[in-house]
Amino acid sequence: MSAGARPEGAVDDPGVHRALGLTDDEAGAIGRILGRAPNHLELAMYAVMWSEHCSYKSSRIHLRRLPTEGPGVLVGPGENAGVVDAGGGVAIALRIESHNHPSAIEPYQGAATGVGGILRDIFTMGARPVALMDPLRFGPLDDDRSRWVAAGVVAGISGYGNAVGVPTVGGEVVFDGCYAGNPLVNVLCAGLLPVERLVLGQATGVGNLAVLLGSATGRDGIGGVSVLASAGFGGDAAAEEAKRPNVQVGDPYEEKRLIEACLQLLDEHLLVGIQDLGGAGLACATSETASRGGVGMDVDVTAVHRREPGMRAWEVMTSESQERMLAIVTPDDLERLLAVCERWEVRASVVGRVTTTGRLRVLEGWGGEVQADVPAASLHEDAPLYDRPRRRPADLDRRADDDPARLPPPEDPGKDLAALLLDPSWVYRQYDHQLFLNTVVGPGSDAALLRLAAPGVPGGEGRGFALSTDGNGSWCSLDPRAGTALVVAESALNVACVGARPVAVVNCLNFGNPEHPEVMWQLSEAVDGMAEACRALGLPVVGGNVSLYNESRGADIDPTPVVATLGLVDRLERRPPGVAFAAGDRVVLVQPPGTRPSLGGSLWAVRRRGHRGGRLSPLDLAAHLRLLGLVTGLVADGLPSGVHDVSAGGLGVALAEMAVGGGVGAALAGVADHVGLFGEGPSRVVFCVPPDRLGTLTQRARDAGMEAVELGGGGGDRLVLDGLVDVAVADLAAAARGIAGWW
């Protein structure tokens, strides 16, 4: 059979496409696209490309409502990463992803390969990855399995991230029962690039070559994005193979060499385009590059360097083996590319050729049998789009009316306060957070603050950028729209607290089963809340990831949209004030007048009383925008000696964290009761300020339309809130470190 002939092996049995995760309608659509019945390989490629993970078929219709454009946006959603212009010829590439399900099954490798995948998304854009952050959510640690998952995930991030040589500069660690069966392991990566090095994942130039770089392709992770691995579709042998673990194994050393080789290839202008291989493997990388470039591609499966013999074409095309990239080069540059790869000990095989046809053809050797022949663009552009049914949860009104303020107040608020503290240093001291000499503020603060610098990226001297990741499932469970807006507001405020101007966000939308109408309603509401807040605060959404089917034993997780905010610092001359009190300085709460915190969805109500009802405190976005400007300005001008936003746990936890952070207590008054102590709400910041600057701070707060409430002064070794709390700072610190005692 010669090249150009139609592929053989049309599949008639509907059991095959169903086992691959395709519906009958989807299979029909494929037949109409091809004008004939597809064969096994073609079905397998459509199945992975049209999976929820790759196609966003349930969420796309909603994501369109997010604002994605802004003056600094160089690349928005849809590419491998968002790219924001930082000025001076420097750009920042940003992406967040989830690796929830792999981490639930195999915590170490699940988390490790999550790190590996996000790094490839970043250097695919031409950026050097310079920072990782990990928002993590687990079940409570008194559960053996949750402890195993949490320890494994942290070890995986540490093991991969440290060895691959990219610092992990922050994140979140949250424990809640709703994540016990389905942990959330999100990972954010930021990279820096000279604007002119920006590349897109596209193939152009007929006759150009597609070169597969990196690890050998094996049978690991086949159909990781769909249900392929649970289906036998080649007889008994395939059924046996399907029993292999689905979670891929990461090799950070391979990835490190791949990063260095790719950056050198980009610096030497040897690449026409480059694309990482992640979910759906070669099928995805070849079709996406061809489709974006408006061309076709012929792929020779026999040329793919493989880990094991006997692999079938569909296995090679859909394998999710880690640490692989697809580079598009001109034939003239091939020799030089191979030399660079040899230097970095990176394997390279020419596996594809750019054609004029617009079709993705899979061949058994050049000029050999045609195994598949499909329109390249159809694999992702023609993916189905679903508007799944949505329904407001029936119990939402009842929960909203169940106000936790009616619960009996705590007998000893100081004891409750200590119990709510969590010092995550046990986690982050396992992460290299200092590599590249950029980390001005590392993990454990409101936001990470880094110098705008990386090897090979000039132009950011004297400037910085900040990153914060934030989520709150308790808020979003009560009201996904308002809760998500609160999360956006908090994330922006966090970067302001280190003196940065928030400029863009990326999101990771962690939700339950989209076939549950309540989950789709939550997703839709969350998107609207995010859109509204981002618009009002001037924050384009430059990228995102949707993780659905986060459920266990039929119970969905709380809706948990995670927002990561990027901020810029124009003059990075000094370290920002810490989350700390300073002895002799005044403690001031700055907030919009009339702020009323609420216990609804608060850490105190959920954690101390197991109560998940009530209403969220309202958010005034116009006031919040003014607050952001105020806080950024005050910190940038070096006015306060300490600063911390009020977030989960309320004013009490914010004050306790400042006491522990500085090792200095405070004598404070003005908090009436436990609602004032533990109530949560937006747009509040605690400052510690030298007495001679108090007047300036107060005046600037008033100018911004805020009230500045003087709570008292820092000093001593106890945190005293008149009439409510009187506890030794050392005891608070010891309580916060309790997390380490579980191991």
Binding site: G165, D251, Y253, E260, Y431, Q434, F436, L437, V440, R575
Partner: protein, 235 residues
């Protein structure tokens, strides 16, 4: 004359740019030296920086010690040239037997990244020359295999010959005798687990590392005298 520091890069090394930046901050010039090259070129000092050479596979430093560049490093060291191994570089130097002992997994069996306090214990090394013993410095550590160990005879020799360059004031990893850094008999080959290059800028929290790297650069301008190695140096 400007001191040139050769910074050795193995595949998997990741602190080479940081070390180069820190030495340049001190007025020296830095040159990256590729592991597969058999020559160091015209350098006044050599730093083996941190990272995960060859992925730390088999054992940290176990593969890197066979790299062609290591023969050149050995010759340079034998000629009295200053050689400093930081973190993974320290591990390479012990595997290459340019320094005694070994680095094993931390007490607690976890990776540790944090700023610790070390005390200069001897001024005999090129990294501590001219620094008052007893001086305390705040410098980050960042390692999984940083627990220094050696047999009792070696320890007695290190103590007897005043070759313990740095000690932890609050041992973070279980190292024997709180050892954070040691040197060879001549004092020109030093290994340490802390990363002085990470403490060279007040913006990042500490510039105590300049004390050590400054001593290295000063030593590189004026080779050690009186040591047997230097006396027979031909290179």
């Amino acid at each position: 004359m400007t001191v040139t520091v050769g910074v050795v890069v193995f595949p998997g090394t990741n602190c080479e740019h940081d070390v180069a930046a820190a030495t340049e901050r001190l007025g020296a010039s830095a040159r990256l030296v590729w592991h597969a090259d058999g020559r160091l070129g015209d350098v006044d000092a050599v730093v083996l920086p941190g990272g995960f050479a060859h992925g730390d596979y088999l054992r940290p430093g176990a593969i890197a010690r066979f790299a062609p560049v290591m023969a050149a490093v050995e010759t340079f060291a034998a000629g009295g040239g200053p050689v400093v191994g930081i973190c993974n570089g320290f591990q390479v130097l012990t595997e290459a037997h340019l320094l005694p002992g070994a680095l094993q997994k931390n007490r607690g069996l976890r990776f540790v990244c944090e700023t610790v306090e070390v005390e200069v214990a001897s001024d005999r090394s090129v990294l501590t020359r001219g620094v008052d013993p007893g001086r305390r410095l705040r410098i980050p550590i960042n390692h999984f295999e940083g627990s220094y160990t050696c047999d009792p005879d070696t320890l007695a020799e290190l103590v007897g010959q005043d070759r313990i360059a740095l000690r932890y004031t609050d041992n973070p990893n279980g190292s024997v005798a709180d050892i954070a850094g040691v040197c060879n008999e001549a004092g020109n080959v030093v290994g340490l687990m802390p990363h002085p290059e990470r403490a060279c800028d007040p913006l990042l929290g500490s510039d105590d590392g300049l004390v050590l790297l400054g001593a290295l650069i000063a030593s590189s301008g004026a080779p050690l005298t009186g040591s047997p190695a230097a006396a027979t140096a031909t290179a």
